[in-house]
Amino acid sequence: MMRIHAELQGVTRVYPATPTHSAVHALGPVDLALGRGEFFSVVGPSGCGKSTLLEVLAGLAQPTAGSITFESATIQGAVPDGVGVVFQDDASFPWLNVRENVAFGLKRARLPAAEVRERVEYALSFMGLDDFALAYPAQLSGGMRQRVCIARTLVTQPRLILLDEPFGALDQQTRLLMGDELLRVWRETGATVLLITHALDEAAMLSDRVGVMSARPGRIIEVVKTGWSRDRDSRLASDAQFGNITSRLWRVLREESLKGLGRTGTPPRKQETI
């Protein structure tokens, strides 16, 4: 039986009306339980509230209704200890070099210098950043900067890693390789991972389970279990099951994406079998 690590129960998020906009029901109600050490991905149409879901779970946004727990404690308006977040946008600090960026959180936690050095060196080596330790973010590619952000999150040894489309700005080849690295991180740290992505292949390849969200207000309308072993990588792309999972995700998501665009779905030309 799955040991629950983080859980959302009846979570909704409504952005209140402003003088220029009416109220927006962005999310929910969402019920979701993440198992300890699980890799869970969320896919959904654009604007369905995927990022809102992540922000609420991280404690960066308050839910309008419902409750969120992490390690049995309720999350209320602040990011709890043990949670790390990697954003889609470049969040590296441009005024610090790579090593200083990675060490930033540890120095704030006032860990002994020797431990900071050891953890930072390990993270730099793990993410393939040794040769760029003294470079500034502006001197790196988008993929390398995202690695810096992942390394900065990893050194704090989070038990729950939340990733909001972290590879969204990268080319397909780099995405696949970064996906492999993410799987390696997940395996070695034993952390629970929630990945928000719009790439179905990425979700199908990386996850233990994939949650498909409806058009706004986003609800989880289907959860697909992939059945992959922990020891997996991007070579799964040539597995027949990978195609089946991706097709199934798309079948559910297509209707929701059309709804998101304000159009109704058309019947498939041929019934797909999973």
Partner: protein, 250 residues
């Protein structure tokens, strides 16, 4: 040195040589302009004799006072306006049209309020510089990427740590631009105010030489002022380039 620097130096040297030749040949009257070599020799003599040391120090002290108060005050006002959007909306038209106001026209009022000492001069320098700092502080704070502020929250940083460790370094390039402009505006404000308000300082010394038809002294002092301002700005420019190169913004 790069090729561009050589070309730049050649242009300046060429212009000075042409000016020297025009003055020496009588094409330009010595009552209008003295040759650059005479300006330089007179400036060196003035510095060596210590004749203008008191004026120079007084001007520098006034510029420093105007600059420091403008940077500190401008930064503070910028932070307050950024934190209070309704206040900012009220202040916006004043900030947008501020440099249309001829600050020097206020000098009689400033004398009435602050007396005849250095204070009205410093106030003019301050008034000239402060808004550049306010505008650049607002620009810098507006342009802090939201993702960095979210990162600060993920790292569970409080408001003070976020301000000092995230907002300040992130806004630094804009704050630097404001500081650089504040230096230039402080110099302009103080020296121009000394022309009309003061009995001492470099501005007054230039005005005195002009009124006494001492053309060589007047140009020598102008050369000194220009050299001083360029040197200070060059120091800031070099510092800024180093900062921006690190962030790949230059």
């Amino acid at each position: 040195m790069s090729r561009v620097t050589w070309v730049r130096l050649a242009v300046v040297a060429g212009a000075l040589a042409a000016l020297e030749a025009a003055c020496r040949s009588g094409l330009i009257s010595p009552h209008t302009l003295v040759p650059p070599s005479v300006m330089l020799a007179t400036a060196a003599k003035l510095l060596q004799s210590g004749e203008i040391t008191a004026d120079l120090l007084r001007t520098l002290r006034n510029v420093l006072a105007a600059f420091v108060t403008a940077v500190a005050g401008g930064f503070f006002i910028g932070v307050v306006l950024h934190a209070a959007p309704p206040l900012r909306r009220v202040a916006y038209p004043f900030l947008a049209s501020y440099y249309a106001i001829p600050v020097f026209a206020l000098y009689p009022a400033l004398i009435v309020v602050f007396g005849m000492g250095d204070l009205p001069i410093i106030v003019i320098g301050f008034l000239f510089a402060v808004v550049a700092m306010i505008i650049n502080t607002l620009d810098g704070l507006d342009r802090i990427p939201r993702v960095l502020l979210k990162t600060a929250r993920v790292m569970r940083m409080g408001p003070v740590a976020t301000a000092l460790r995230i907002k300040l370094p992130s806004a630094a390039p804009h704050l630097f631009t404001g500081t650089k402009l504040a230096v230039a505006y402080s110099f302009i404000g103080v020296i121009a105010a000394e022309f009309i308000l003061s009995g001492a300082g470099l501005g007054y010394a230039i005005s005195y030489a002009y009124n006494n038809f001492n053309t060589a002294r007047m140009y020598a002092l102008m050369l000194l002022v220009i050299t001083l301002v360029i040197a200070v700005n060059l120091a800031f420019y070099t510092w800024e380039q180093r900062l921006l190169r690190r962030r790949n913004l230059r």
